[in-house]
Amino acid sequence: MPPLTRWFIRTSFVYFFLALLLGVLLGAQAVWDFSLPASAIDPSYFHLLAGGWITMLIIGVVFWMFPKYALDRPRRSLSLGWASYILLNVGLLLRIISEPANAVIGTPASIWAILLVLAAGLQWLGGMAFVINSWGRVKEK
């Protein structure tokens, strides 16, 4: 498999572990009688699973196994592929840090709010980079 696919799949495994670790933390609340703010932690849990684990695993496999774009550029643009990897990951990590902080101590003008907006923009760009790079590889035969 190509290097970018390896990066996507290994990274997806890390997010898988982190998501389940967060799940354990959420489950531990009842046992040790502490409470995490649900609005701060639940979205991180869902997005580590859906955006980190499943989506990155899919993107890695799509980049690897979808029909070739052209003989000289079988996976279309390597730059767009790497751009999607970097943008999605920086965006997701920024989100995981800034979303709980924003829920607990953020205000509309705080640094956490600005980072959250940045996280939204980076993830969106990463998603679009993937869609654009993959679109031309969906070929009928």
Binding site: I54, P108, A113, A120, Q123, V131, S134, V138, K139
Partner: protein, 135 residues
């Protein structure tokens, strides 16, 4: 990939793009707190990414790569699978519309349409879950 897989996969990419756009708007709004009513879009965001993106990509790839049957229709009944494509997408569209205009019973109808669509896909794909060497 076969034409029907291309339909499913292209549609899933469109839903990914729209679902990500809604998600980015919701996340940015969480920081900026400009539109409190933006949260009504959350069910549409979830539907587009779970059913629109994940489910349709999986169905499209399954229709493409599952072992083929011997006979005239190696990928099973294509007409029925096309019917499943339309049912699933009509269902997704109805769930998304329900997020904007709350109509009594619309969500239930949408889920029923999706259920039938998924059932049709399962019934057609069932026989293709086999060893590559078996008939």
């Amino acid at each position: 990939m076969p034409r029907l897989s291309a339909w499913f996969v292209r549609t899933s990419l469109i839903y990914l793009a729209i679902g990500f756009t809604l998600g980015a708007f919701l996340l940015a709004n969480k920081g900026l707190r400009l539109y409190p009513q933006a949260w009504t879009l959350l069910p549409a965001h979830i539907e587009m990414l779970l059913m629109g993106w994940f489910v349709q990509l999986a169905i499209g790839v399954a229709f493409w790569i599952l072992p083929r049957l011997s006979g005239a229709q190696p990928r099973g009944n294509e007409r029925l699978t096309r019917f499943a494509f339309w049912l699933i997408n009509i269902g997704i569209g109805m769930v998304v519309i329900d997020a904007f205009v709350s109509a009594p019973g619309l969500l239930l109808a949408a889920r029923l349409v999706e259920l039938v669509g998924v059932l049709v896909f399962i019934l057609v794909a069932w026989k293709r879950v086999k060893s590559f060497s078996s008939k």
